[in-house]
């Protein structure tokens, strides 16, 4: 985030609005004893953070609004920086609130809203909420360069999954619950499976003559296993809302695709860049040139070293 803000600073006409996904209360820095994630802001930046963090700010800022809803660390304070300085940011803890907050930040004058995320809470990167995503990777993912490249390129591949045809997209766009298949004429058939987590009970419904299946929720290893074990597994096309709904492991997902299966998304994520931090929070340093070179070999979008 600091890297992106630093770059944005050279465009004085663009006012940024900053927030982040909420943390669930436990101050992780107390557990891992690592440095608190402070963000450095320039003057005239809009930001939203919890009351608790607002009190310990290291910046002069003008309060613009206070939320009615509460997070575990208090209400959300939206304000505008007057000086430069540092602040810890923690925002809404659910997607709907985050979406509203993004609108609010734009309402008070932000030209672009940046949401700090976390790989474990990637659903916030869903294209229904944010328009574009920057993926941050580096020494915090793993200390093994090979593992970093593998994990990062998997996420990249997921963001590159093709979007489903427009005709089908329009039909399933509003389906928020359930699992559906599509016949030859693209008619939507409700498979009446209450949850993918109960898939064992409803196997028979999944294995029908129609192989295009839309999962409104998540897809898991168990589900992919079930399909991979079918003779006709190569005919299956799985459709999910967006890449954040894919909870299956890299191995299973790749196996499914290698066997001829397809995964499409309703909303494609616009991954615009990858930033790499070669230093971990505990202070370990990786060979950044090697890491970035290896990443560039498999990922064709801009990759930045934030330490440059």
């Amino acid at each position: 985030m600091n890297y992106v803000l630093n770059r944005l600073c050279s465009y004085p006409n663009i006012k940024a609005g900053i927030t982040s996904i909420g943390i669930d209360g436990e101050k992780s820095d107390l557990v891992t004893n690592t440095k608190k994630p402070e963000i450095f802001l320039y003057p005239n930046t809009f930001f939203t953070t919890v009351e608790e963090f607002y009190k310990s700010k290291n910046i002069i800022s003008n309060i613009l609004s206070v939320s009615k809803q509460k997070t575990i660390l208090g209400r959300l304070i939206t304000s505008q920086s007057i000086s430069s300085g540092k602040i810890m940011i923690s925002g809404p803890n659910n997607n709907i609130w985050l979406k509203d907050l993004i609108d609010e930040l734009i309402g008070v004058g932000a030209d672009i809203v940046l949401v700090d995320g976390a790989i474990s809470r990637m659903s916030f990167g869903s294209p229904t909420i944010t328009e574009a995503m920057i993926l941050s990777t580096g020494a915090n993912v793993s200390l093994d360069i090979k593992a970093i490249v593998k994990k990062t390129s998997f996420v990249y591949q997921l963001t590159e999954l093709p979007e489903v045809e427009k005709e089908i997209k329009d039909k399933i766009f509003d389906l928020d619950k359930g699992i559906y298949s599509m016949d030859k004429d693209n008619n939507i058939i409700d498979l009446d499976i209450p949850s993918v987590l109960l898939i064992d009970k409803y196997k028979d419904k999944l294995i029908s003559e129609y192989k295009d299946i839309y999962f409104s929720g998540i897809i898991t290893d168990k589900l992919l296993d079930l399909i991979i074990n079918q003779k006709s597994s190569h005919n299956y096309k799985i459709i999910v809302k967006d890449f954040t709904k894919i909870f299956s492991s890299q191995e299973k997902t790749e196996l499914f695709i290698r066997k001829g299966g397809k995964i499409n998304v309703v909303n494609k994520t616009n991954l615009i860049a990858i930033t790499v931090n070669p230093t971990s929070t505990v202070g370990y340093n990786l060979n950044s040139d090697e890491l970035i070179d290896r990443l560039k070999q498999v990922i064709p979008i801009p990759i930045y070293n934030i330490k440059d």
């Binding site: 009351e51 309060i63 206070v66 304070i77």
Partner: protein
Amino acid sequence: MNLKKAIETHNGLKFIINKLSLSSSIGRQALMELKFIKDKSILERELEITSEIMNFLSIDYNYTRIKRIRSVLECINDISGSIKLLEKDGVLDDVSLFEIKSFSLLSEKLRDLLKVLDIPELKLPDLDKAIEILDPEKMRLYQFYIYSSYSEELREKRRLWEEAKAREESEEKILSIYVECLEIEEEIRKDLSSKLKVFIPDFILSLKIISKLDITLGKAQYFIDNKFSKPEISDSEFSFKALFYPPLEEILKTQNQEFQRIDFSLDNKPVLITGANMSGKTIILKSLSLSQFLFQFGFFIPCESSQLCIVEDILISIDDQQNEKKGLSSFAWEILNLNTFLQKAKQGKKYLILIDELARTTNPIEGVAIVDTYLEMISNTNSFSITTTHYSGIKTRCRRLRVKGIRKDIIKEEIEIKNIQNLIDYSLIEDNSDQAPNDALNIAEIIGVDKDFIYKARNYILNKEE
């Protein structure tokens, strides 16, 4: 008794309260704290204000103004916590100061919007002086921080801090200047908090009036939409024209059926209502208790016109699922209720006592005796009493009403459980006999009970009569 307590025991009242659309959280909170009004002049004034607001809402010309009032109300925040802190000489933080400033600005906006209303109870205090304290730059914006214009010293320190950062001095040095800034800021907060203390009564008054405004707008709109009417306050009698029970009316509407509205009047003679099963006796009692609650919380009544008396309390004995019997049998629960009601009534204050099918769970001989005795005792008090019964042979002198029951012009073959609502005439008629109607078997037949059973039961009655 407050409204929160009352809705716990009365589903009909809860139904209506839940339908009110209020804009602010302080309004919603104050709604639950509304008091059961026993003072005639307070109640009269409350009903008048509601009437005036209804007029205000009904004028097309006010549309934009009302919309603006509502949107201000939606933004109103509850500053009562900050006020309590001020009362205890506490120092407010930036967020609380921001909230007080926003509240005051919004309150001023409302004061302006309400100027066209001539209701002294809704006249907001002038908070301009309080705003001045929190708005040294006179921008009148919904923003707040410790402005440099509060103190030259602060302005200077902040400048030094910026310079230190620009010169990239040591973190320690930068931090120590920042801490100095914070110290000055804290002094300013102390000063602002003590200056604001003077306005505590105005803030409290403003919170109270804004809540009242929100509640009154909410109920007035509901009364317009649902055709409730303003009750008249009487000293001695009750009367209703076209009374209805909104929760049931709504259910019937979804089934494309109409609720039959009833006329009803009552003086201080006890009333005994008879009627067949399913004839709506319980609903009559529920409508009456609902109306009385609404009336004494300063609401309008679901009817065309009405007259009601102010009572000390509404005493209800209706045995449905919402009652908690605390492990007692139906009879013990009911008879203990009855005992309490009589004890209260004996003390001379006016109560409205509504009892559904008194003593129905016991044998008819003792049951009749209980009803008779109750009616006799209650007629010697100042309370108003309405009792329903299935029993024939009640001898006590009282006013007797009967639900008309199954319409005589109905052809039996057309009757089905689905349309049974339409087959019963729910209106109340004066009845001079002491015989309760015997429609139980007719109703049982209509709702499809085994024909053989009905035939045998009818024979049983015939044999007995012979």
